[in-house]
């Protein structure tokens, strides 16, 4: 299954500057792993040591927050657009 992955923000550092990629996989974890094979180190920027989404990364599958659909185990339908969005956060 093929999906489009968009990477606004700093995560392009992990993909050689690419901000829009095609990838395959039936779950979010599989999609991330497939990108990691092409861009080693990508997965560790998105997933923690336990394989869960890092707290400062928000992932949307279409309009749905992946955390509401099982986190990194969320199903990714064929043709989906996946957006991996770093948190916009800070403070004094």
């Amino acid at each position: 299954m093929s999906v489009t992955v968009r990477l606004p923000g700093a995560l392009r550092d992990a993909t050689g500057g690419e901000t829009k990629l095609s990838a395959s996989g039936g779950t979010l974890r599989e999609v991330i792993a497939e990108i990691d094979r092409r861009h080693p180190g990508f997965a560790s920027r998105v997933l923690d040591e336990g394989g869960a989404l890092r707290s400062y990364v928000n992932v949307y599958i279409g309009e749905d927050d992946a955390r509401t659909r099982g986190g990194s185990g969320a199903a990714v339908p064929d043709g989906s657009e996946v957006m991996v969005i770093p948190a916009m956060a800070g403070g004094r």
């Binding site: 968009r6 606004p8 923000g9 700093a10 995560l11 901000t19 829009k20 400062y56 928000n58 949307y60 309009e63 927050d65 957006m83 969005i85 770093p86 948190a87 916009m88 956060a89 800070g90 403070g91 004094r92």
Partner: protein
């Protein structure tokens, strides 16, 4: 590098900061390249908004979903420091994950409030000039 910021957008940033105090406000600045055209107020969803901000990720997704060229049309991010100086804190720098965007900060510490702009990349946060339009 500079940021072209219309007077009315600058005033809206300050107005948002005043209305949100003592909580931090935050939002998005849209335009083209280094030129801001409009502001979208953000929802600060951080659990301790008096000292932290996080723009509602759903609002962020909605704002950038319609255009692939985020680097160009999302010019910057703004937030307020209600009681501290208008420069990036260590926490701001450690959590800055949008290196292509300008970070605009306002502080209510002084009257009238100051507004400054920064580029945050890695551990560096140089100030960049604001040109009023």
């Amino acid at each position: 590098m500079r940021l072209v910021l219309p007077r009315e957008v600058r005033d809206e940033i300050v107005a948002h900061a005043r209305e949100s105090a003592p909580r931090e406000c935050c939002g998005l600045l849209f335009g083209d390249g280094e030129v801001v055209a409009r502001l979208v107020r953000g929802r600060n969803v951080h659990p301790t908004p008096e000292t932290r901000y996080e723009i509602d990720p759903a609002q962020l997704r909605e704002a950038i979903a319609s255009n692939d060229d985020t680097d160009r049309f999302l010019v910057g991010i703004y937030h307020s420091h209600p009681r501290t100086e208008p420069k990036p804190s260590e926490f701001d720098i450690a959590n800055a994950r949008w290196p292509q965007q300008v970070y605009v900060l306002t502080s209510l510490r002084s009257e009238p409030p100051e507004v400054f702009a920064y580029r945050i990349t890695g551990s560096e946060a140089p100030k960049i000039p604001i040109v009023e339009s």
